[in-house]
């Protein structure tokens, strides 16, 4: 009989402390977390299981890429039990983290290519890890375009980066749009897929990444198809209800794929081989 004591208990979270909280919108906050002990390594696209002890766990995308430090950022929308309680927590409070889990954006394969990010609402959170990554290795990539939209100006996340940082990086374009203009909004108005069509990006040597509400993803994928983006260069992330995060609890499958293990990142080509049940 083997000795299992050496095997790590995958259900045991590591403790992290909330270092900084940024109020992004009325119901979205970004939490910068620091592990009390040990390193943390991940790649863009992965997620963690976040524990609020006594309330439960929720899968949350890592929305940052901060190499060399044992810290990460999570941008969380207040929804149910765990996320609501998290929103009431303060800097210095402790949470638990398991992971990183899931596959990653294809960071190796996209070297040397142009990157097109299409995000909506909180959907910019998982894309942001790759955006950070690509700016960190800026010379590995060609042009970077970011199209981001939210319902109203008040619903835009990562405003500081969107308006003041990312657009100042070389060979980078940022297009921000809202569905409904309020508070004297001067920028673009219109849903993300519409803006995408108007911008008419070239599919040449370009990989598109999209994440957002299901309806936005659906129409953005259609628009990308109209723009002749090949299916294998159109990348999205999927969301299914999760508990274990490690392919055991059996609930996050689409066909024979567990989204927690084999996803959440899929190319449109892979997606087309899955049953339509997401």
């Amino acid at each position: 009989m083997n000795n299992l004591n050496q095997i790590q208990n995958p259900y045991l979270p590591r403790i992290a402390s909330i270092e900084k909280i940024t109020q992004e919108t009325g119901d979205i906050k970004t939490f910068r977390l620091v592990f009390l002990e040990g390193d943390f390594h991940h790649l863009p696209g992965q997620f963690v299981e976040l524990s609020v002890f006594g309330r439960g766990e929720a899968p949350i995308s890592i929305s940052s890429f901060i190499p060399g430090e044992n810290s990460l950022e999570l941008s969380v929308k207040k929804m149910g039990k765990v996320t609501s309680y998290l929103h009431s927590m303060c800097e210095g409070d402790k949470v638990g983290l398991r992971g990183p889990y899931g596959n990653t954006f294809p960071v190796e394969r996209i070297k040397g290519q142009n990157l097109l990010f299409i995000g909506g609402g909180i959907g910019l959170a998982p894309l942001r890890s790759l955006i950070h990554y690509s700016f960190l290795k800026r010379d590995d990539f060609g042009k970077i375009s970011i199209i981001y939209g939210a319902r109203t100006p008040a619903d835009l996340v990562f405003k500081e980066e969107l308006f003041n940082i990312w657009s100042n990086i070389k060979n980078t374009e940022v297009h921000i749009t809202v569905d409904v203009a309020t508070n004297g909004w001067q920028g673009k108005v219109g849903v993300v897929p519409k803006i995408l069509k108007e911008l008419n990006p070239s599919p040449d040597n370009t990989v598109a990444f999209t994440c957002g509400p299901p309806i936005m993803i659906k129409y953005s994928l259609e628009a990308l198809n109209d723009l002749n983006f090949p299916e294998e260069d159109t990348v999205t992330t999927l969301e299914m209800k999760m508990k274990c995060g490690i392919g055991k609890c059996g609930r996050c499958n689409i066909g024979n794929k567990y989204i927690c293990l084999d996803g959440p990142v899929f190319t449109l080509k892979e997606l087309k081989n899955l049953p339509k049940e997401y």
């Binding site: 009989m1 083997n2 299992l4 095997i7 790590q8 208990n9 995958p10 259900y11 045991l12 979270p13 403790i15 524990s51 002890f53 006594g54 309330r55 439960g56 766990e57 929804m79 149910g80 996320t83 402790k94 638990g96 299901p214 969301e239 299914m240 209800k241 508990k243 274990c244 490690i246 392919g247 055991k248 609890c249 059996g250 609930r251 499958n253 689409i254 066909g255 024979n256 293990l261 049953p275 049940e277 997401y278």
Partner: protein
């Protein structure tokens, strides 16, 4: 779960000595035996001189619960000290006495899941700590259809020790080193088997495949490889009309492993636990946003069948069903996996 030893050895164990044997093993092991209570036979923890029933064909509940309990604490949380207290996973060594071939096969199927990538210590610890003493079948229940799957009801080489019923006694086959050691340590109970008994046992073992009432042909399961076709089959709609969406077929299934994880909050101490869950429940996939990828019984019953017959096969290489027949026996509306497989192929 132990190392296989190619050199198997045959012994005899008198039925009249089984209780003494259990009483001896009891000192060192936690033993689970089939016990009849409230009109059901189930594996229960053996206490000195307890009664048990080896004349059952199968237990109502599958033995998976001894490895994946219906509820299990993962750790407790001490708020004051901000620390997590891991459950003590060390258990005494255990024996399951009388596990049927279908159910021991179900454990090797569950192993695939619990070993994939991140190893599930809670399951594997129990698995590694447990010696299986299997019992061959010569009297299949009317619901059994293990012979349609890769299970031999007469002979099971995946267990540590295997018993074949010879009437007054069992022919004992030691399949693993651990099994052999156990027999070697207790010579008073096990005598060497003679040629005649071995021959008789082999005969009984080879006849075990007869006498099944339900089942299907192996080639009828091939159709499930083509997910695109099978996914849109009209049968799911038909089954959904009468399926009650209860948890019986999944909770009682030997191979279903789905669970939920949640926290319990008490004053100074919290607890994280996991407990069985079922893809037949609406809440299984319902997200906080209100979006549910499997909102109706149609999608949910399709998930159950396709998970077993298609998704599991392409992921792990075998069908996630061992033909124990529990779902068929207990489904209130008589939804029958063998009929579903037959109907898809022949109707």
């Amino acid at each position: 779960m132990s190392s296989n030893n190619p050199e198997t050895k045959y012994f005899l164990l008198k039925k009249s000595k089984v209780k003494d044997l259990l009483n001896t093993l009891y000192k060192e092991f936690e033993i689970f035996v089939p016990v009849e209570e409230e009109g059901m036979v189930n594996f229960k923890r053996y206490k000195l001189n307890n009664n048990f029933n080896m004349e059952f064909t199968n237990t109502l509940l599958p033995p998976k619960g001894l490895f994946l309990p219906q509820q299990e604490t993962l750790f407790t949380i001490n708020y004051k000290k901000e620390e997590l207290i891991e459950e003590n996973l060390e258990t005494s060594r255990r024996i399951i006495f009388g596990i049927r071939p279908c159910d021991s096969r179900s454990l090797t199927i569950l192993d695939e899941v619990f070993k994939e990538k991140s190893e599930d210590v809670y399951y594997l610890q129990k698995r590694n700590n447990t010696l299986l003493i299997g019992l061959g079948c010569s009297n299949p229940q009317i619901y059994c259809f293990c012979s349609s799957l890769e299970v031999d009801p007469g002979k099971d080489s995946s267990v540590d020790i295997f018993l074949t019923d010879l009437g007054e006694k069992y022919l004992v086959t030691a399949n693993t080193k651990e099994g052999q050691q156990l027999i070697k340590d207790l010579p008073v109970y096990f005598e060497k088997a003679g040629e005649e008994e071995i021959t008789r046992a082999l005969e009984i073992q080879s006849q075990a495949r007869e006498g099944f009432s339900v089942g299907f042909a192996k080639k009828d399961t091939e159709i499930f490889r083509d997910v695109e076709i099978i996914f849109e089959h009209p049968i799911w709609e038909e089954l959904a009309e009468t399926c009650l969406g209860c948890g019986i077929c999944t909770y009682l299934c030997s191979t279903c492993h789905c669970f939920d994880i949640a926290d319990e909050l008490a004053k100074n101490e919290g607890r994280r636990f996991r407990c069985w869950d079922s893809c037949q429940f609406f809440s299984f996939t319902n997200m906080t946003s209100g979006h549910n990828p499997r909102p109706n019984r149609k999608e949910r019953i399709r998930q159950r069948f396709l998970h077993k017959l298609s998704y599991f096969v392409s992921r792990y290489g075998s069908i996630a069903c061992v033909g124990c027949g529990r779902c068929l026996r207990n489904c209130p509306v008589d939804i029958d996996i063998t009929r579903v497989i037959g109907a898809i192929n022949h109707e």
